[in-house]
């Protein structure tokens, strides 16, 4: 299962690039803010340009927030089971509010939605 680890030394980081023939489903997110200098608000965005459709002849880049986490300074929370119900149709991006912090580390574990026997 692939994963992506980034530090929030810059305010906006890309976690996963888009794969055209699959949506991205996160399995868990782990945020290490133990040595962070401040509380962090992390927003996970879905970034994509839609296809040309009947109603939209010239699509433009969309940034849709899918999840927001408020992370206390000195903590390292993780999310697990409920994450699998969220999907990203495009690129996964994380944005840190409240200033950059190289000691705030985001680990993002995910899979592409194309596992065969998963009929739901």
């Amino acid at each position: 299962m692939p994963s992506s680890v980034v530090t929030m030394a810059v305010a906006t980081r890309t976690l996963v690039t888009e794969r055209r023939n699959a949506k991205i489903r996160p399995d868990s997110i782990f945020v290490d803010n133990v040595n962070g200098a401040a509380d962090a608000v992390l927003v996970f965005n879905d970034v994509f340009t839609p296809s040309v459709s009947n109603g939209v002849a010239v699509p433009v880049l969309q940034t849709v927030p899918r999840l927001q986490l408020n992370i206390g300074m000195g903590t390292a929370p993780s999310t697990m089971d409920w994450m699998k119900n969220i999907s990203f149709v495009g690129l996964v991006q994380v944005v840190r509010g409240g200033g950059i912090d190289a000691n705030c580390v985001v680990s993002f574990i995910y899979h592409f939605e194309d596992d065969p026997p998963d009929m739901g």
Partner: protein, 220 residues
């Protein structure tokens, strides 16, 4: 021309191939129009569908995907006729048959079939009972959902030949999401046909053949 295969009531071992294989027979119905290469004129001048044996096949997988906003749709044109949304998925050779399997990854969308553009494949007999994506109820009439033909168990089949009218699949994203990524998995089974002289076709060959109807036979 179209098939949505139901779940089997029983299974057989060894399994039967889902796609046409070399040696298989196909028979085009007599409703196919005379301007297409899968017909011939009989001795009385009537248009008849050809009978053929598949001599070669090649399975070509292909995925198509579109991100569409809620309440909007995209008309995917399978033909080779140049248009805004055509995908060039028809044969170019007059004696090639494309057997196309179509499956979908999960998502909040409906797929409605038209051939040619604007002409529904599925409708009921009462005049108003036609697919309509602007209606909260009629959008579900005749619509295929991803569960009807999942990506890894494709049950929706479509047959195309050279110069046939465009088949349009309207992919409509239903309410409840902001955007949906519609992923279609295709397996295009390229079948090279050897036409058999109608006088040499036996009843046994006919009984073993796959009969391919013209869409007008199915849209009654």
């Amino acid at each position: 021309m179209f098939q949505i295969k139901a779940m089997p009531q029983a299974t057989v071992t060894p399994g039967v191939p889902a796609l046409l294989q070399p040696g298989y027979y196909v028979q085009f119905s007599d409703s196919w129009p005379g301007n297409l290469s899968v017909t011939y004129q009989d001795k009385k001048g009537a248009t008849r569908g050809i009978f053929a044996q598949i001599s070669r096949t090649n399975q070509v997988p292909y995925d198509l995907s579109y991100i569409i906003p809620s309440g909007d749709f995209r008309d995917v044109d399978f033909s080779n006729l140049l248009s805004t949304f055509n995908e060039n998925l028809y044969p170019q050779n007059p004696i090639t048959l494309y057997q196309t399997q179509i499956g979908f990854k999960r998502g909040n969308f409906l797929a409605i079939r038209y051939i040619p553009a604007g002409e529904y494949v599925s409708r009921l007999e009462q005049a108003n009972m036609v697919p309509n994506v602007t209606s909260a109820t009629l959008r579900y009439l005749g619509a295929i959902k991803w569960q009807d033909s999942p990506y890894y168990d494709k049950r929706f089949y479509f047959y195309s030949v050279y110069n046939m009218e465009p088949f349009i699949l309207r992919l409509f994203v239903d309410n409840g999401v902001d955007f949906e990524k519609v992923v279609m998995g295709l397996t295009i089974n390229k079948c090279y046909m050897n036409v058999i002289d109608p006088d040499k076709v036996t009843d046994e060959m006919r009984s073993r053949s796959l009969k391919i109807e013209y869409y007008l036979d199915e849209r009654w």
